[in-house]
Amino acid sequence: MKRSVLIYQSIALITLAVAFILFWSFSKGTPFVESGLTFDETAADSYSVLQENLYRMVPILLGSIFFSIAIAFYLEEWLAETSWIYGIIAQQITILASIPSLLYGLLGLYFFVLQSEKGSFFTHALTFVLLVMPITIQSTQKAIRGVDISVREAAFALGANRWRVVVDHVFPNAFPTIVAGICTAISRVLAITALIIIVYIWKEHTLQSGDTFNIPSSVIVLLSFALLSSVISSFLEKKTNLT
């Protein structure tokens, strides 16, 4: 009862906020869309290429979300926690998920904007998959672990096999948390897309031919720091667990 009231309240608040933004933007002549920037013809051309590239990522995104959920269920339900493979995969996922999305954004920037001629569909897809999959897998894993062990035991005791337990009990119980995780992943993607578009516009207007960008090297430096920090944190975690 109380929970549903809270949900309605938050829906109302969000609707109000969206209505306000829409009203504000229309009354001011859509400042988000027409930011006073105008493209010359060639720039507009390459902008539509960028748009197309981004739209082509939608099926990739949906696919990788679906795949991530499947992976998380496989890891948690079928690959036992004691298995050494589980440990290795879980650690890799943790490291990838703990890298700030900004760094993936820079990666995306490199492939989508700065290397737009060279960047292939594959590299674009890889950027988005890297952005979405680790965080979705991790949140789904947490959702699966959050399902009460007693529910599983009750189902097993009635004679349900592993598959039935997952389909009938674990998935329905974990579903709201899984959706919340997907929302987080999508918001990451949206933020990065916004970043790519903004930097693209900025680049088209300020960058003269002959200017060089050193984003790739700085990305590598930042990525290695992120990797180092997550390795250290997982090492510390293991050490504190032992004592």
Binding site: G159, A160, R164
Partner: protein, 256 residues
Amino acid sequence: MQSRKTDPILQVHNLNVWYGKDQILKNLTFDVLPKQVTAFIGPSNSGKTTLVRCFNRLNDLALNFKLTGQILYKGDKLYTPKLKASKISRQIGMIFQKPIPFHKSIYENVAYSARLRGVKQSTQLDTTVEESLRKAQLWQEVYKDLQASPDILSNGQQQRLCIARALAGAPEILIFDEPCEQLDAAETPKLEAIVQSLKNRYTLIFVTNKRRQAARVSDVAGFLYDGELVEFQQTEQIFTNPKDKRTENYVTGRLG
């Protein structure tokens, strides 16, 4: 009271169980005869729950679980790689300490285990649900609205719903693992009455740490202490004339 001729439904030979390095059960040997109530009593951490979880292979889920010795169910080995745990738990039902209704309607909760064993026709499902709820003595309280969520039921009613759900799976053995632990005083006699009424159709195994309850409901009782089966015999014997000093201390309240 019981026929000596009947074959035991469960035979346990030299059962040892470890969780990692801790030995939980030490060299247990006994037979469970069909259509009577076998109780296991003992202080907490004596291995009662671990023992009954061996019967429906629920321990398979635990990490580092290791078992030696043999359990025979109707003469067949319970622990062989060929036999799936789900097949066993369909024939050996279990009621837990805490009532665990699923997030489905009352009807769907009971129908779930019937569906698991392959019942598909809706008329057959209806009769199974009604029969099971009647056997669990819950029908009178819920028949008006079977589509209601079990959340509206009291703790005791939920536990009876779990009994109905287990019965709908048509098990041969029904294990009660301290089923009254979380129930209020008024519900306990109802549950004991259900146990008595089920006795002539099912084999019942009853785990409890309440001595008097074991004396009331069971025909045969086993006293577990620190993983050992100290004594296993007729309930009357165990409570009035125990052979072992430790059993005597426990049933008289000096131990545990």
